[in-house]
């Protein structure tokens, strides 16, 4: 049995959170290490958040396979303003603290649907950002521009060779990546 599954079972049995779960998860070794804005466990966390937003399907990769956790880390670190970084990392902290990783796929989905609703509140805008809007945008952007997303969820041809402005399309055909 995987450690995470074991933990989930324990949590269910005990009807709630497991105190000391971090230590249990890390095998009582060292606490997570922070480098820059992120803990070393955050890429995995963001991978799972991304996968919940855009999950794998039959023959189609999900955001995790697209390396979404690492993509988010790079973009938030290099491209975000300090203010946006703050909103993002605080939001991630909440997901980390409330043990997103320990939840089942359905529980993760329900939680993020809730956050998506929250983030649509008109009080949030460019000046007052909600962290979930960032997570969702990063996931969509990172996924569809990744090799996995662009070539498997979408279609990408490096050198089309010619242009045709009138080709048939039927529902279900993939869009061009660029």
């Amino acid at each position: 049995m995987q450690r995470r599954e074991a933990l989930q079972m324990v949590a269910v049995l005990m009807g709630g959170t497991v105190i000391g779960a971090d230590a249990f998860l890390s095998g009582c070794k060292t606490p997570p290490r922070k480098e820059g804005l992120f803990y070393d466990t955050d890429v995995a966390l963001m991978d799972e958040i991304g996968e919940t937003i855009l999950p794998a399907g039959p023959g189609v990769p999900g955001a995790k396979e697209a390396g979404i956790g690492n993509f988010m880390k790079v973009i938030v670190t290099d491209c975000y303003t300090p203010e946006d970084q703050d909103v993002f990392t605080k939001g991630l902290q909440a997901l980390r603290d409330k043990k997103f990783m320990d939840l089942s796929p359905d529980q993760r989905h329900d939680w993020l649907v809730q956050l998506d609703k929250e983030a649509r509140d008109p009080k949030y805008n460019d000046k007052n950002q909600h962290h979930f809007k960032m997570l969702k945008q990063l996931t969509i952007w990172g996924y569809f521009t990744s090799e996995a997303g662009a070539t498997k969820a979408l279609r990408y041809i490096e050198t089309p060779g010619h242009y045709d402005g009138d080709v048939p399309y039927k529902k279900g055909d993939k869009a061009w990546a660029t």
Binding site: Y80, H109, F144, S146, P160, H162, G172, W176
Partner: protein, 559 residues
């Protein structure tokens, strides 16, 4: 011949400098082509041209570090990860903005010919005659019939694709077969023609992307990555087109890292004798001698160079006797238009990435139309299906969202205007004597704004776009009018205007400096007005004409 002597010196290797080098060497002259920046070799140095989108760590977007280093470029689309090395280092080469001016530069061999938009349109006599008829600025000393053969000449060599339309205000040229409109554009073009009873036209963009091969160049492969440099040589640039031709003569010497600091002038003979340069890498000074000098450093920098030259004769620089040097700085004003959704066509899509759009030629203040402003504007735009970056409000997260975004969305259509800017004496570039760059050179100061005529025109640029997009059946039509700021058209013009009278212009009709007739200025600075079409094709035509005139004059011993 001493190794610092040439028949001709060309300052700047962008669109017009490349043409000057080609024409002069092909006429048998030895030419030194000076470029202030680094060399970029065709194909070999297009380091990002064959990368896939996912091979850029930030997927092409800008980082906070880039924003800090390029505060001016950051004001619009040019600041990006994919071709950052093609844009001028703003810390090394600052400029003073008396008023905001979005100056987007490329200091390297090829200049902005590597990143340009490639739209290529001829002027008509409506444009050459407008200043004279309206008493604005000075009259152009040239009319269409004089420049038409030179348009033919440059179109044939550069390779311009487009459709023959028979429009008086947008003369046809020597075109390669046009790129195709997509099915939606075709239908909307037909509706526009019907609605305005043939008074307005939507045509495919005329672009310097070749649709048939030329020697050493492959026809366009529809990759839409032009501004990374094209490994097929499918669009016109110095590197793909004029430089190889000039090199093939064996008469060309190309010297990168050469900042020309002044045109050397012999006050007794009233002629330039060459140039002085600063080696940008070593800071060494060198002099080169020549019979003629072509300035193609770009509009602001050619004016800057003249202001820095012969100041013992004219305190304001070579070519300043009219008082117009550096004045009348112009650009096109843009970023006003409209867009909307096209209903239907769910069973239609496209193949290939067409680096070109549609064009709606000018219709205002022509053929009896009269507005509360003068001149006019044209629109560029296009139709396409939305992609994964669209908003799907009814979907939250999960497989449904992934599946929905993996399919194309609705068809949309949008157009944005390019408007004429009038020549205003007060819109100018000067030398900022208080600030220097890292080479110890005084930097240019830019003081230019759009004024009443342009602001009135912008109302139509947005309003007409909304009206037309609605008339041809678009839904949810929305207009926009942003950033009425000069510079961002990246079409700087006018600082050394040509004219009929040395008292009111810097250049004569052959692009010769009145005060030094063996100095030719053939970049955007010679433009006496801007018209509303993209200007580079006209720079090419006037440069080729001036170069051929220069050779004739040399033969006749006139210069």
């Amino acid at each position: 011949m001493a190794d610092n002597h040439f028949d001709a010196i060309v300052v700047g290797s962008g669109i017009s400098g490349g043409w000057a080098a080609k024409e002069l060497t092909e006429k048998g002259l030895t030419v030194l082509l000076l470029e202030r920046g680094r060399n970029i070799e065709h194909i070999k140095d297009y380091v990002n041209a064959t990368k896939a989108p996912w091979q850029f760590p930030h997927r092409g977007s800008k980082t906070q570090e880039m924003i800090r280093n390029y505060p001016v470029l950051n004001r619009d689309y040019p600041l990006n990860e994919t071709n950052l090395d093609f844009w001028t280092n703003e810390k090394e080469s600052p400029f003073t903005e008396v008023k905001r001016f979005d100056w987007f530069r490329g200091y390297h061999v090829g200049g902005r010919s590597l990143m340009w938009g490639r739209q290529s349109y001829r002027w008509s006599d409506f444009d050459f005659e407008a200043n004279g008829k309206e008493g604005i600025g000075v009259d152009w000393p040239v009319r269409y019939k004089e420049i038409a053969p030179w348009y033919d000449h440059v179109e044939k060599f550069a390779g311009v694709s487009g459709s023959l339309e028979g429009l008086v205000q947008l003369p046809d040229g020597q075109f390669m077969p046009p790129m195709a409109m997509n099915i939606v554009e075709k239908d909307l073009a037909a509706r526009l023609k019907d609605h305005y009873k043939n008074g307005r036209h939507m045509i495919i963009g005329r672009t310097a992307n070749i649709t048939e091969p030329l020697p050493g160049r492959t026809n366009c492969q529809y990759r839409d990555k032009c501004w990374l440099g094209c490994p097929f040589g499918a669009y016109f640039s110095t590197q793909s087109s004029t430089l190889p031709a000039a090199m093939a003569t064996g008469k060309l010497t190309l010297r990168p890292w050469s900042i020309v600091t002044q045109v050397l002038y012999d006050k007794d003979k009233k002629r330039a004798t060459g140039v002085e340069i600063l080696d940008a890498e070593t800071n060494q000074t060198y002099q080169y001698k020549s019979k003629i000098v072509f300035l193609n450093a770009s509009t602001i920098n050619s004016a800057w160079l003249l202001m820095n030259s012969a100041t013992d004769v004219w305190p304001d620089g070579l070519g300043s006797s009219s008082g117009e040097l550096g004045h009348n700085l112009m650009d096109h004003h843009l970023d006003a238009g409209a867009y909307g959704r096209v209903e239907g066509y769910e069973d239609k899509y496209v193949y290939g990435r067409r680096a070109n759009g549609i064009y709606i030629p000018r219709f205002r203040n022509l053929f009896g139309d009269k507005r509360d402003y003068v001149r006019g504007f044209g629109y560029q735009g296009g139709a396409g299906r939305e992609g994964w970056d669209r908003e799907i409000a009814e979907l939250s997260i999960g497989s449904e969202l992934r599946s929905a975004l993996s399919e194309p969305g609705a068809w949309t259509m949008g157009v944005g205007g390019f408007g004429e800017t009038l020549p205003y004496h007060d819109n100018k570039v000067t030398l900022d004597k208080t600030r220097k760059d890292k080479w110890g050179l005084n930097i240019p100061a830019i003081d230019a704004v759009i004024r009443d005529n342009e602001l009135k025109m912008r109302k139509d640029m947005q309003g007409d776009a909304i009206e037309m997009m609605t008339a041809i059946g678009l839904k949810d039509v929305a207009g926009f009018d942003n950033n009425p700021v000069l510079g961002r058209g990246i079409h700087e013009m006018g600082t050394c205007r040509m004219g009929k009278d040395p008292k009111t212009s810097v250049l004569n009709k052959w692009n010769q400096v009145w005060d030094a007739p063996n100095v030719f200025v053939t970049d955007g600075s010679f433009m006496t007005s801007t018209n509303c079409v993209n200007p580079s094709l006209s720079y090419m035509a006037f440069t080729a004409r001036a170069a051929n005139h220069a050779v004739d004059e040399l033969k006749k011993m006139n210069i």
